[in-house]
Subunit: 321 residues, 2 copies
């Protein structure tokens, strides 16, 4: 896995993103040089390798997926008014809103340029997968914004939202890597479902770590989601299982912005503890993780070829624990 | 031509754009139902027909081009803070900025869904043409915003900007229509250049009509560009040819926002008259129009097949005269 990451990082270091007009391409260059874990391109190449693909063929698509992902972050940061991304000012803060819009649009088209770079017998299928994934990611972001404004969101709705917003892009990256390698349809489907459940597990773990993560490892202040009244699996689960009194108390905290933040985090965490929320979320993660594993098991390639993806899975879910 | 327009309008009436989540798709439905002249899809189908294409094959691409065009309008309206589009509130006004961003992004992906609908031996070439055009349109919008903030813009820079912002999409639509019909490369190139020069002529005429158009026909107040201090071919040409005194006077008006608008328009038009700006712009339009005609002449299909495009050209440029 390490070697795949190095390979992806190497591509991004060599690739030239700067062009004219500067006002359009400098924010793109800035965004793509911020780094990040490059999980999606690594997954795409790992899937390609698993089915004996030539990797060089799939490289352009790996870059395309990462450029697309960064385009969504760029627009999301503007919509969510997030000041920082990977510890650096977001594009709309460093430049302005219009720049974030137009440079983002251009990144979407640049992603397509990479997707179109290599001819392939199944190219139309690959491009359809990429595009339908893109549409789903947009739908996920809309549901996310809708849910933030709604008073009642169910766990089922929340899972549907994070499936669209996060999981389908992981799954799509894996599928595209497999298609480039000419994998059989049935295996492609298992790999896709593996990606979906992995993505769900990953997002639930993100929710969990916000409340219970090791600050030193996680790199963020604990309880930020609670401070921000953000809808997560934790609060939705708590509202679902809590008796009347705790439920009302949670709702009160959740509707408050002008309060002592530390008191708020402590109070909410105390209610969570009484309801065993941490354990319930860990169970949900384990369920998704198990589903992911079963789909990986079902793929008909020799076990040795699955090792890199298994490693990656454990690393992704274990790293932060 | 009328029959092609009816065909395109029919497709847009039948097509269903609404889906879930409503907050994402209602603004898309709204935008695509606002109507408009549907010039680009009509051009695409006309080009297809000229080379004996089956039209049904090219229909999805025609829809794709129009959806893409409307996506750029949606984001441009937000960036330019335009309150109205075709006499109705723009999406960011009727909903909000975030909706305009995300529904726009989704429209770009929906345009791709149409572009990917039909298999074709030259599909990758068609998709590359579509995507490179999309990138150029973004670059054109960036130059447009850059030039509005710069003090000195040359005529050459302005022509480069409107080429990217307006002309390439007309040219790209024509090229895609021709590629679907299996037209020879040389003819495709001539058709593309025809589209470029037609687009340039069309934009210059738009500039001209803002100052000299018949309000009843044009449907807009005359002199709006002068009121808005907007950079157009007219003011750039005037600054280029004016003697020192008129040049300074123009620059003064151009830097003013708090003045009597009617006095400003009258004064600027008086300077234009002294410099024969109207005639100079008409000459420039005629030059582009002639280039367009020559490229259409050079295409090796029988004259009768060119008639619809010739008609459309005259209609586009004659209608508003």
């Amino acid at each position: 896995m390490e070697s795949l990451l190095k390979r992806v990082q190497g591509i991004f270091e060599r690739e030239v993103f700067l062009s004219e007009p500067k006002g359009l391409y400098e924010p793109i260059e800035y965004t793509l040089r911020l780094g990040g874990k490059r999980i999606r391109p690594v997954m795409l190449l790992a899937a390609n390798q698993m089915f004996g693909g030539s990797m060089e063929q799939a490289e352009a698509a790996a870059v395309g997926i990462e450029v697309f992902h960064n385009f969504t972050l760029l627009h999301d940061d503007l919509m969510d008014q997030s000041p920082l991304r990977r510890g650096k000012p977001t594009v709309y803060r460093k430049w302005n809103g219009n720049t974030a819009i137009l440079s983002g649009d251009t990144m979407f088209a640049l992603a397509w340029r990479y997707m179109l770079k290599v001819e392939h017998p199944r190219l139309r299928e690959i491009l359809n997968c990429f595009n339908e994934t893109a549409i789903e990611v947009c739908e996920g972001q809309q549901y996310d914004m809708d849910f933030e404004r709604e008073s009642e969101t169910t766990i089922a709705e929340y899972m549907m939202m994070i499936r669209l917003k996060t999981a389908v892009l992981l799954a799509g990256a894996l599928k595209i890597g497999a298609l480039y390698a000419g994998a059989p349809d049935e295996d492609v489907d298992h790999l896709y479902e593996y990606g979906i459940h992995l993505g769900l597990a990953f997002q639930l773990q993100d929710d969990l770590l916000d409340a219970y993560g090791d600050v030193a490892v996680f790199g963020k202040q604990t309880g930020q989601d609670i401070r921000d009244n953000k809808k997560t699996y934790l609060i939705l689960k708590a509202l679902e299982v809590a008796p009347m009194q705790e439920r009302e108390e949670l709702k009160r905290w959740f509707a408050t912005t002008d309060c002592n933040d530390d008191e708020k985090v402590a109070s909410v965490l105390k209610i969570y503890a009484g309801l065993n929320i941490k354990e319930k979320v860990e169970e949900a993660i384990e369920t998704e993780f198990e589903s992911a594993r079963r789909h990986l098991d079902a793929i008909r390639v020799e076990e040795a070829r699955k090792r890199p993806l298994r490693e990656l899975t454990e690393a992704l879910l274990g790293r932060k624990k």
